[in-house]
Each structure stands twice: as C-alpha cells, then as structure tokens.
Amino acid sequence: MTTTETPASPASAGHGEVNYLNHEYGIKSWLLTLDHKRIGILYLITTTMFFALGGLFAGLIRLELMTPEGDLFQADTYNKLFTMHGVAMIFFFLIPSVPAVLGNFVLPLMIGAKDVAFPRLNLLSWYCYITGGTLASFAIVAGGVDTGWTFYTPYSSTYSTGFVSVALMGVFINGFSSILTGVNFLTTVHKMRAPGMTWFRLPLFIWAHYATSLMMILGTPVVAITLLLVALENMFGLGIFNPELGGDPILMQHLFWFYSHPAVYIMIVPGFGVISEVIACFSRKAIFGYSFVAFSSLAIALLGFLVWGHHMFTTGQSIYAGMVFSFITFFIAVPTAVKIFNWTATMYRGSIDLKSPLMYALGFIGLFLIGGLTGTFLSTLAMDIHLHDTYFVVSHFHYVMVGGMVMAYLSGLHFWWPKMMGRMYNEAWAMTGAVLIFLGFNLTFFPQFVLGYLGMPRRYHVYPEEFQILHVASTGGATVLGLGYMVLFVCLVWSLFKGAKAGPNPWTAKGLEWEIESPPTPHNFHETPIVTSEPYAYEEEDVLLADKGSH
C-alpha cells in the first residue's frame, strides 16, 4: 500500500523491542500519558470494568425475571438495577467503546499520524470519563438511581428519591469526554493525514469515525444542557419541566432524544467502520462500493438528527410531526441497507478465511439485520403504538446495541488485538466465545420480541404469569451469553501472558497500521509514510516490514 523509507529493519534490530508498552514503566507513566495508544488501553480497561458492572446488573435483572412474582428484589431495588444497567452500559460502555478504545488506538495509525491532533485533550477526555464514571458509581453505591437511563421528567426532577443529581452530573461530565474525542478525531482526520492519504484513500473505519465525530460534537452538548437542567430542577425546583408550574415534561423528551437518537448512531456507526475493515481483510477484497459505504455513514449521521420524535409517537405529539419523524426514520433504513448489501457483495469471489474477527463480523451482520428490520416495525406509526414501551423495543435495541455494536466491537478487538498487545490469542477459544455469544444472545433476546408483541411492558418488576416461559428462556440465554463473555475474556487475558508473538501483520491485512511493529513504537512511524495506492489493495503484493529496506 505504501512505500516507506525505513532505514533499517526495526523488527529484527535490537531497538525494535522498544514499544509503546515498555518504553516507560510505572503507574505515573500511564496516568499522565499523552500517547493515543496508551490512552486507548486506559479506555479499554475502564470501559471493560463498566461493561462488567452493567453485565452484573443485567444478570441480576434476568434472575429476578425468572419468576412472575417480585421475590428476589424489592421493587425499588429492581428499578435501580435496570437504571444502572442502562446508565453503565450506554454512557460508560457503548458510547466510548469503539471510538475511545479502537478509534484512539488505530485512527492515527491508519492515517499515518504520530498522534491525534490534541493529545492533552485526549487525556483530558479520559479523565472526564473517569470523573463522570466515579460520580455515577458513587450514585450507585450511595443509594442508587431509579429513573431509568432516560431520566424522564417529572419523575426524575420531582418525584424520584434516588441520587439522581449525582448520576446526572456524572453523565454530564462524561459527555465532555465524548465531545473532546469528537473534536480530536475531526481535527485529526482533517489535518493529520499522511502525504498521499487523500479523502478517498481513507479506510472506511476513518469515514465512520468522521461521521461519529460530527454527531458527538453536535449532539452531546444538547443532552449535556438538558441533563444539567434536569439536575438543577431536581436540586432547586426550577420548574422548566414541572407541569405544576406550567412547565412541559415532554420538552425534556424532545431535548433528550435530540441527542439520544444520534447517540444510537454514535454507538453503531464506529461499529460499521470496524466491520468494513474486517470483512475486507478476511475476504482479501476491496470493499464493494467504497464511496457508497463511506457516504452512507455521513447520511446516517445527518438524518440521525432529524428523527428524534419517533421515540415519542405515543406522547400525544402532533399527528403530522409523527408522520414526518416516521418518514425520515424510514429514510435511514436506506443507507443502512446499502451498507449491509455492500458488505455482502464484498465477500463475493473473495478469499474468505473464517477467523474469529470475521466470525464476530458475520454475527454482527445477522444480528444487526434483525435489529434494523425490527426498527422498521417501530418506525411504522400504527405498529409503534402497540409496541412502544414493550419488550419488543427492549429486544430491538439490544439486537442493535449488543448484537450489532458489541459484536462489532469484539470483532475489532480481536482484529487489532495482535497490533495492540503484540500477542496472538488462541483461535479455537476465540471462536468458541464468538459462537457462545451469538447463540446466547439470540436465546436471550429473541423471546423478548414475542413478549413485546404480547404486550409485556418494559421495566416491569412483576408480570402476569403467562409471560413466564418466555422470561425463563431469556434468562437461560443470558446464562449462555454470560458464559460466552467469560470465555472471551479469559481467552484475551490468557494471550497477554501466553500468546504467541504476533508479527507486524498476522492477518496479511492492508493498511498503514499493519506496516509497523506489533505493538507499535511510541511514535508509531519511524518516518512519515507516503501513501501511493488505494485502500484495501488486497490484489497487490504484501508489504512486509522486513522487506522495506529493499524498496
């Protein structure tokens, strides 16, 4: 893909052993690091902690729902569990995971930069995340929050007795982490590309992150001010969302979803980027319809800002507003479908190697398809009236968020793991994890579509008996899913200690990040690379690090 003037072959030379992981030691060298790769690792560790926490809450929820009676937890405890599950997973895992972990690590490598444009802001973003996370965790420990992750007024502002303001401040501060990441990526992509890395030579991962950055910058501040208003109202009784004073609680939903719908795309679009990379690599094919895939990300980012009202069809909003929101929502189905078709077409006449990253990516396509198609049920106005606030919605967004986004994240994590850590994991165990997660996920959430159509409302602590059998199936699936995550976790951690050393390019993948050592050196590139060819040029001969001197 590139010709790089590299003086010696660093992998074999003695100084090649110096990499970003071992060039400095000590806790301080990590906590004050400005290296995008180390910040990515910091995010990896902390988001994993929140994922485990959110997963624990999910497990407890599923246990409670084994029986129709509320026999395991008090109603208040149950309400706190699903709230904290949502807050931990959405704000502290799903939103940061792909951009802040994988994006931070590989985005500068992919465009041939030595770092992001603002390394200090990058570190600051992690501290915002940690501060927000600490506040939210404090709210959990101090007594919990029971508003649901949506913080709907007037319940959150006037009636809830939990530590709502503390949790809101946590989410508010965490928002700045997102904004700073967005500003950083946007500027980095614009200004830090290596010579020859034109816009249409960018890997699709970059396009996806570019679209995501726009949404982060333009959406997050709106939810920040909204949640700040809710917190102030909770603490001081401002009245803005309080119907007793003439305030409108529905206004809060408008402002909230103006961000929180794009937030869904903030979560999933970076995942699209991962899938494009993985499918191209393991099919050894250029992405079919590169520009369509690239621009569909931007189209989704743009349209994502115009559909927030589809969360509010039953609130009594004007029938015409409902129609416009429904109409634009259907519009989004088109760029999403385009992506799926293009990924499928990429595999046509490829050379497909079904390794674990691809396994996750294919799992993503299957689950995201179901998630996306059930999304059209919910954007169909009359259908949504019946399905709104039922388990159908719960299942739909888990198919998109867990089936889609988490699978994409795991795909990317397996794909770049050798690059990040310099070690290979055990492929058989990785495959086992992928299969368990896929099966467990479907078993957990497919029954919930049926539950939803039967009318089972979400956030129910106790429920009518006739729903029990589906809930038991769902809990059974959650067990398998949890087991899958554990296999995956052990497999990856094991690789850190016992894994075989990964060469610079274990997958024979194309892209600048595969032309440097694994793990990369502190400054990524020995010389600024010069890009001379198109992305995903899998038909070209492999550029091996050791060969570079001979160019």
């Binding site: 079919f288 369509f292 009594g316 078709f341 606030d389 159509y453």
Partner: protein, 312 residues
C-alpha cells in the same frame, strides 16, 4: 386472570386485526431479507473459502446499477410500509364524533376512571362492546401510559395535558390493562383490567350501585361552589365571558391570537387564567392551580362542554 401461554395476544378491538396484518407483513419482509442475506453470506463463506494462502482475488470496486437497485428497492418498500402505518395511525388518532367519553386520571400507582354518568372505578374500565370509546386522560404526578395489548393501542398519560385515545371493543371479555411508561416504585403493579360487556350488561352495570351525580352535575356543583358563576354568567354582561356555547369554538384573545376553546384551553384558563385573556376582558380571574384536583377539573370541563351542547 391466568391464561395459557400463547405467541399472540387476543384480538379484541377493531384495530387488532389490522395491526396484526401490518405486523405479519413486516415479519414477512424481515424474514425474507434476513434469510436471504444470511443464506448468501453462508454460501459465500463456503464457496469462496480460502484454499491457499497465496490467493489474491480480483478486486471488484462496485457497480452503480447494483447500488441503485439496493437503494431504490428498499426505499420503495419502506415508503409502502410507511404509508400503511401512517394511514392506520390516522384512523387510530381520530375518534369518531359519536364516541362515548370516559375520563381517566393516572396517579402513582393506580388508574382512576370516571364515566360521564357518574360511575367511578379504580384499575378497571368497563366498556360496552361495539361502541367507540374515547378516553380523555391526564396524570396527577408523573407520566404514565394507558396500554391495552388486546386492543393494540396505548397512549401516554401526561401531567399537565389531556391526551386522548379511542378504541372499539369487538369481543366480550376481560383484558389486561398495563401502565407502559415507567412511573416509579410500583410501576409494575399499576395494572388492571378492561371489561368488555354487552350493551345491556353495561347499562345494568352503570345503573348498579349507588347512583351518584353525573359528571355534568358534579361540574355544575363545583362551578357554583368555586364561585365561577359570579363572573361567568349564562348571559353576557358578567365580568368574565359567558361560557355558554364556547366549547369547540374559536376565541379571540387580547393578544390578537385566535384559539379554539378545547379541553386544553379550558384547563389552562382555569389554572393560569392570565396566560390567555379573552379580548375585551380584564385579567382579574384568580388561579385555581393547586386548589382543585384533576378529577374536579375534568368535571368542570364536562360541565362547560355540556353548556355548548345544550345551546345547540
């Protein structure tokens, strides 16, 4: 209310079958695309599996006709589904003019129902079969949602405003009533039942028990007690505008704006009188915010409505 397990809720309203047909259409489309794409992927994975490590397949950079095809075809499918859904939504939104009014007030954690004839019930809603029923709903505290899966309909019940929903039950029986919007600790026990009865049984049920005053009578009583009648006289000339024949008609405000005197307007005028002064009158009416309950408000509104019906 123990029922057998089923994959499908009962069909008990005029909407139910239409919603189900829409649902099956969507299921069919979804199954088609999921199966087709997954089958193609599995086929590719097997057929084009890597046979040797030296394989360098020829790149295919794309195809404009294909891109157009798989943009335009899904677009038209989407537009078709959108049209069906929107058309159905229109019908679900607009209650027939002759619908029977029933009033619902949600509070943590119960449903309070008033029938115009004066009958009240809690966590139950009795309705006659084959009659359009229009529910006017509000909440005393947080947002709730009135959901009847067997009728395939629901609507949020929002404090500070009136939301309406309507349905026509088609099958005698008892159906689940859920609160679908999370409303706090006992959210999941804010449930009840909707009882659909034959017309005659319904009339017997209405007449049974202590026959209290009707909503209009109660409204009239409040209208006198709260002193509304002092200013809002039945003929013009009072310090406030007469309320006879006002409901549903346009009102000219002092600001120059013209609004329709609907339920929301009357409610707002009782709670925050000076926010919309009728042209030609002074802003002297006191506020009743915090002094009267949501149920009393509904009775007052019913009474004011009745003044217009009587005038016609």
């Amino acid at each position: 209310m123990s029922k057998d397990f089923s994959l499908h809720p009962e069909l008990a309203s005029t909407f139910a079958l239409q919603i189900d047909l829409l649902y099956f259409l969507l299921v069919a489309i979804s199954v088609f695309f999921t199966v087709a794409i997954v089958a193609v992927i599995i086929f590719f994975v097997i057929k084009y599996r890597r046979k040797s490590d030296d394989e360098r397949p020829k790149p295919i950079h794309g195809s404009l006709p294909l891109e157009l095809a798989w943009s335009i075809i899904p677009f038209f499918i989407c537009m078709g589904v959108f049209t069906l859904g929107a058309d159905m939504f229109f019908r679900m939104y607009r209650a027939p003019a002759d619908a029977l009014n029933v009033y619902v007030v949600g509070k943590q954690w119960m449903w309070k129902v008033q029938h115009p004839e004066g009958k009240r019930e809690i966590n139950e809603l009795h309705v006659p079969i084959n009659t359009p029923i229009r529910l006017t709903m509000t909440s005393e505290d947080v947002i709730h949602a009135f959901s009847i899966p067997a009728f395939r309909t629901k609507r949020d019940v929002v404090p500070g405003r009136y939301n309406t929903m309507w349905f026509e039950a088609t099958k005698v029986g008892e159906y689940d009533l859920f609160c679908a919007e999370y409303c706090g600790t006992q959210h999941s026990t804010m449930i009840g039942r909707v009882v659909v009865m034959e017309e005659q049984d319904y009339q017997n049920w209405l007449g049974g028990g202590a026959a209290g005053e009707s909503m209009v009578e109660a409204g009239m009583r409040h209208f006198e007690q709260l002193g509304c009648a002092t200013c809002h006289k039945s003929q013009s000339g009072g310090r406030g505008p007469t309320l006879t024949g006002v409901y549903g008609e346009p009102v000219q405000l002092a600001s120059g704006e013209v609004v329709v005197a609907d339920e929301a307007y009357i409610r707002e005028s009782i709670l925050r009188p000076t926010s919309s002064i009728v042209n030609g009158y002074q802003p002297i009416m006191p506020t009743f915010q915090g002094q009267i309950s949501e149920e009393t408000l509904l009775q007052l509104i019913t009474y004011i409505k009745s003044l217009s019906e009587a005038a016609k």
